[in-house]
């Protein structure tokens, strides 16, 4: 049987389940709130800073940035700030210094900035949650409702059935990423009124042994930067999707399947807080989700990770999950 018609069936089923509409709804509501929040905070911070340094013109970004830099330096003198906090403040200060010396305005906010910000904020939790919502019932729902028996009594080998589900899922992960980008663009353009896709962005800050390493710094346009963040988002969506597929094969109930994926996702974040110096945590998928932070230069939850390391770990997890899913799906008895 032709694989593409099987994939077509699976995509059709997912769309008819209306899961995608739930995801669109969540995206619109959340992005709307997020955009409003960003807008509000930006304006308030700017006017606060302006008030503090006694200027009326909030558009003078050099002065505001200088002030922020001084604030950060003052905080660095505070002996009560822990080592980890100190490092991230240092990074931020270095970045501000860089903006000042290169004459780049960090306070303007555009639709493009919002788009990349949104992905940076959602890549480690919100995006995986959407994918879990989409993928967790892809096999388990068929087991619960018994339609798995319909599929498995066709003259189609089991591996082909699972492959069609896997490919359908991979396509829909891409659609979710595109939906995120489109909705974020639409809403933020309405809110902020400017595109800003050509604005230069500095990427490649890295922390090596607690020091800011600027040797890999590159300037790219905001548009390219967005493309990079959303591609990284797709890598996360891809691997989380494969893991959700595996769990969906392993457990019969969709509720259990969603629960297992969510708790491992959130549990991993806790784990990285408490035992970040334990060697093994770096091989967990959930501490390797913040791929975009490698671009923006933010601090990683576990020290010593690199972009290529994190991507490899995620892909390895995806591969392992796929192998387990196929193994179990091909041999399991359908008892009820």
């Amino acid at each position: 049987m032709k694989l593409y018609s099987l994939v077509g069936n699976e995509v059709f089923k997912i769309i008819m389940k209306k899961r995608l509409w739930v995801i669109v709804g969540i995206l619109i509501i959340l992005i709307g709130l997020f955009a409003y929040g960003e807008h509000y905070t930006r304006e308030r911070t700017q006017s606060q800073i302006a008030e503090r340094i006694g200027i009326d013109d909030v558009d003078d970004w050099r002065e505001i940035t200088n002030q922020q830099l001084m604030d950060l330096e003052r905080r660095l003198d505070n002996p009560f700030i822990p080592e980890e906090g100190r490092a991230s403040i240092q990074v931020r200060a270095e970045q501000l210094r860089y903006y000042l010396s290169e004459d780049i305005n960090p306070t303007t906010f555009s639709a493009a900035q919002f788009m990349s910000n949104f992905m940076e904020q959602s890549i480690f939790l919100f995006l995986p949650l959407l994918i879990i919502l989409l993928a967790s019932d892809i096999v388990s729902k068929e087991s619960t409702t018994g339609t798995i028996k319909l599929l498995m009594t066709r003259p189609v080998p089991r591996w082909k059935i699972l492959t069609s589900k896997l490919l359908a899922l991979t396509i829909l992960e891409m659609i979710v990423i595109l939906l995120m980008a489109t909705i974020a663009l639409g809403i933020s353009y309405i809110t902020f009124g400017q595109g800003g896709f050509k604005e230069p962005v500095i990427t490649g800050f890295r922390i090596v042994n607690g020091e800011l390493d600027v040797s890999n710094i590159q300037t790219v346009s905001r548009g390219t930067y967005i493309l990079m963040t959303y591609s990284l988002g797709y890598i996360v969506a891809f691997s989380i999707g494969k893991m959700a597929l595996m769990v969906s094969v392993l457990v019969k109930s969709t509720a259990a399947s969603i629960g297992i994926m969510m708790s491992s996702l959130i549990g991993g974040t806790f784990l990285s807080f408490f035992i970040s110096d334990w060697e093994i945590t770096r091989y967990l998928f959930n501490v390797n989700l913040r791929l975009t932070d490698f671009l923006s230069g933010d601090l990683q939850p576990v020290e010593g990770l690199s972009l290529s390391f994190s991507i490899s770990i995620l892909l390895l997890w995806a591969l392992a999950a796929t192998v387990v899913a196929f193994g179990v799906f091909s041999y399991k008895d359908i008892l009820d």
């Binding site: 049987m1 069936n9 008819m16 319909l150 189609v156 008895d333 359908i334 008892l335």
Partner: protein, 304 residues
């Protein structure tokens, strides 16, 4: 001559060390309806699931139209249409969309054929509605439609009469017999409604604790088993029958006489009973039903 469509050879299944199926051998030929009977937990559904490859057998072989289900799943399943347990469908899709998805997984099912089976099961009016609006009977009809649309050589129906009203059951029975006798499908039906099996099937296999205890034709089961008289004077009647007609006579629990003798003698016996004033109330043929056979074979069983 009819073709052997299904063959079970020494079929075994253990689940977690517990023997569920203990060596089933069975054959099914084209144009034949075989009823699969057994009490709850006897292994009916497990056997049906092994036939269609949903469960792997521990030992033995299932051969469908010459292909082993274990070794050549795809070729074997090309010949099978089935409903296993409940007629589950994608309830967020319409009946037609369900059929379309399932048809796309087979070879050579045309739109015309799909329309034909929809009208065959009497679902034309509701086929474009979502399945979650269907009653159990309508789901059963849709399930039947998807099972027969590829004209399988082997049709497997697990509890097909569930949820159908009496008119639906009668229609269904006619459909199954038509498929078997006109399109020479081999049909394997499991049911717990014995009267259904009796009316629908040519042969029955009775399964008990994972073993087939008897395979027999329905004709054999329902063949005549003597004559029954209901009369007021039982002892006198018994004596009369024994002395004048040399019949062996029993007095049954329900206060009737059961005698084994030729039908042609019945008018004579009746005449004698009336002459003697024994109070004849009625006379009847004693038919042993499938239910009697089933109960006698599976008597005292506990669910394992």
């Amino acid at each position: 001559m009819s073709e052997r469509v299904l063959e079970l050879k020494n079929l075994h299944k253990s689940i977690k060390g517990k023997k569920i199926i203990k060596g089933i051998d069975l054959e099914l030929f084209s144009g034949e309806v075989l009823g699969f009977l057994g009490p709850n937990g006897s292994g009916k559904t497990t056997t049906l699931r092994m036939i269609v490859g949903l469960i792997r057998m521990t030992e033995g072989e299932v051969i469908i139209a010459g292909h082993s289900i274990g070794k050549d799943f795809v070729k074997a399943m090309k010949n099978v249409g089935c409903i296993i347990e409940n007629p589950e469908m994608y309830d967020y899709l319409s009946g037609w969309e369900n059929l379309k998805i399932l048809a796309s997984m087979e070879k050579g099912i045309s739109k015309e054929r799909m329309k034909e089976v929809v009208s065959l099961v009497g679902m034309e009016k509701r086929i474009d509605d979502k399945v979650y609006t269907y009653s159990l009977g309508m789901k059963q009809r849709l399930g039947t439609a998807q099972a027969i649309m590829k004209r399988p050589k082997l049709l497997i129906l697990d509890e097909p009469a569930n949820g159908l009203d009496p008119a639906g059951i009668s229609e269904f029975r006619k459909l199954i017999q038509k498929l078997a006798h006109e399109e020479s499908m081999a049909v394997l039906v499991s049911s717990h409604i014995l009267a259904e099996i009796e009316m629908m099937c040519d042969r029955v296999a009775i399964i008990k604790q994972g073993e087939v205890v008897q395979v027999t034709t329905v004709k054999n089961i329902v063949k005549d088993q003597g004559i029954i008289w209901k009369i007021k004077e039982l002892q006198q009647g018994k004596k009369l029958l024994e002395e004048e007609f040399q019949a062996s006579v029993q007095i049954k629990e329900d206060q009737t006489l059961l005698a084994f003798l030729g039908e042609e003698l019945v008018p004579m016996v009746n005449k004698r009973f009336m002459e003697e004033g024994l109070g004849l109330i009625y006379v009847n043929k004693n038919q042993k039903s499938l239910e009697d056979l089933f109960l006698s074979l599976t008597e005292g069983d506990e669910i394992v």
